[in-house]
Symmetry: C2
Subunit: 336 residues, 2 copies
């Protein structure tokens, strides 16, 4: 299996990318194509004593600037490390693509270079968020600020396929994010989506109110991209805020107190650690594309590659494709 990785995406590129990829070659048995400046990659690897065994370099000098408009990724083609990676994926030179670059550009590039699965209306960034009883996938987490009910129904299918095939959750519980438990709550979008989800054949458990998200009692949460992005960013923001507060409270606990609690603090940090997941899958694309967090370190890149591998192993895109084909059979308006 070949995983293509953007060597120049994220705050810690290229060193942490190369480190994570070298570990992935060693521990996961995958081959890697790194996109970006070959001289810089080779120098960085040599300077840090990292072996490039199992890693091929696809050279390009440019890097997609995070301040550029997302659609520039389509126009500029293979010039940037991200654009080249997407093109290689589209051309069948690898099985999946990982990048920690601009989310907007990656969504645009995945949509127009790798292309959507036939019948799927929108590509959705789909992060995994930690909860008390288990993690859940949230989609759309930011790409499509205005959505129609049939898009939310498709998000539910894509999220279910992912949680089942990649995370190993049998018949994952799907919930619609809403401001009340009753099916009459919310905007027209929620009321109509509720009906579609009820008839979807998925394990739809109804509405979930935002206060219940941290409990982690469902596996798939669907909403429009504006609300999803608000939830994602507030979730992160509250997480950082409380982590800071816990540290502050504990700075007074003394050595003895810290000794008694250190195991629990570690367990809690582990539970909340975004790095263990890897990144957000961009679901709805013909081949797996993983958006790694901008601040990813080697561990996070390693896990993003592992996540990409699991998507390939679990044939997530095939499962979504089959669903979309069935849908197209029963509904001639299936494609947009």
């Amino acid at each position: 299996m070949i995983i293509i990785v953007d060597a120049f995406g994220g705050d810690n590129a290229p060193l942490e990318v190369i480190k994570g990829c070298a570990q992935a070659v060693e521990k996961l048995g995958v081959n890697i194509i790194l996109t970006g400046s070959s001289s810089k990659i080779e120098k960085c690897a040599a300077d840090n004593g990292i072996s490039l065994r199992g890693i091929e370099i696809a050279h390009t000098d440019d890097v997609f600037d995070i301040h550029e408009k997302p659609n520039e990724i389509v126009k500029s083609g293979k010039n940037s490390s991200m654009g080249l990676g997407l093109s290689l994926l589209a051309d069948g030179k690898g099985d999946a693509f990982v990048s920690a670059g601009s989310t907007g550009a990656l969504v645009m590039g995945a949509t127009f270079i790798v292309k959507r699965i036939k019948g799927i209306k929108r590509v959705a960034p789909s992060p995994i968020l930690p909860g008390d009883k288990g993690s859940f996938i949230l989609l759309d987490a930011g790409a499509n600020t205005e959505c129609r009910p049939e898009m939310l129904a498709q998000f539910a299918v894509m999220g279910s396929a992912y949680m089942e095939k990649v995370m190993g959750i049998k018949s994952p519980k799907v919930a619609l994010l809403n401001i009340g438990a009753e099916e009459t709550k919310g905007r027209e979008l929620e009321i109509e989506s509720y009906k579609l989800l009820s008839e979807s054949g998925l394990n739809f458990v109804g509405n979930i109110e935002p206060r219940d998200l941290p409990k982690g009692e469902v596996s798939v949460v669907v909403t429009d991209g504006f609300t999803g992005n608000v939830v994602l960013k507030l979730y992160e923001g509250m997480g950082s805020f409380f982590a800071k507060k816990i540290k502050w409270i504990f700075s007074g606990a003394g050595v003895l107190g810290a000794l008694f609690s250190i195991g629990k603090i570690k367990a809690f940090k582990e539970q909340m650690d975004y790095r263990k997941v890897g990144g957000s899958a961009l679901l709805g694309v013909r081949k797996p594309v993983i958006k790694a967090h901008g601040s990813s370190d080697a561990k996070a890149f390693f896990n993003a590659v592992r996540q990409a591998k699991k998507c390939v192993d679990g044939s997530v895109t095939k499962v979504i494709e089959d669903y979309a084909a069935r849908l197209a059979g029963s509904d001639k308006n299936g494609e947009n």
Copy 2:
């Protein structure tokens, strides 16, 4: 000053309501009209040794059922303790009204019994949320799931008036909740609202991303009622989740560790305590209406009465009214 209080709203009625009101009479020098069953109120006060000095009872046997449709409050009129309180306020028998009953019914009743300020398009529940550097008011927190830009501009005016007159913040910083910092981010609602807010003459500081809300660096946050309700409920949910986690972590810290940290834990709990605020003002109504939290205890009811008193003292409704009148002068479409 007379504050009307619904004696039968919330989970802890009537005992905690009566306790809180008795304290308010004693410490704030206000008079209270309690609405609800006079025999039940008198028995509860007698059984618990609470003085009813300064408290008058406006009798009605019924209580508005939280499961009824909100608009029933308008049809059923003065029959329920909430409906009677709203009618007394509308008739000038008191200066403000406090209830811990159904938010939906209170918004409907405030809008159609007490009525909106002329020129104000929507009544908005406006809770105060705790942040690291300071608290902020969030509106609309749930009443109007679909909003137009001019509504968000009015929310900003109402929130500013409240933070200045009740919370004593000079020239409060106003921000638009959005999924990016740039003014081109978000849906049409955010893009158009940004323009209106820029020209509003308020201290508008631009967009705020949800991850920055817990920092508490702005005083007024405006958004539509769907997004606002999601933010409010996720804020509460994350708060409970982390409070539980902090407790769990600390259960291992031992007596010595706890001793060292107990002051900090108390300070943090105090910072996050919703009871110190009282409740959510329903801004846009002709007279102050305060929605107390459903789980309010005596302290929370006391603070809700204090909050109502501050609204009267600061002439919050007058400030909003003056603004709306100026707006109507410059814009003939001012009223909806």
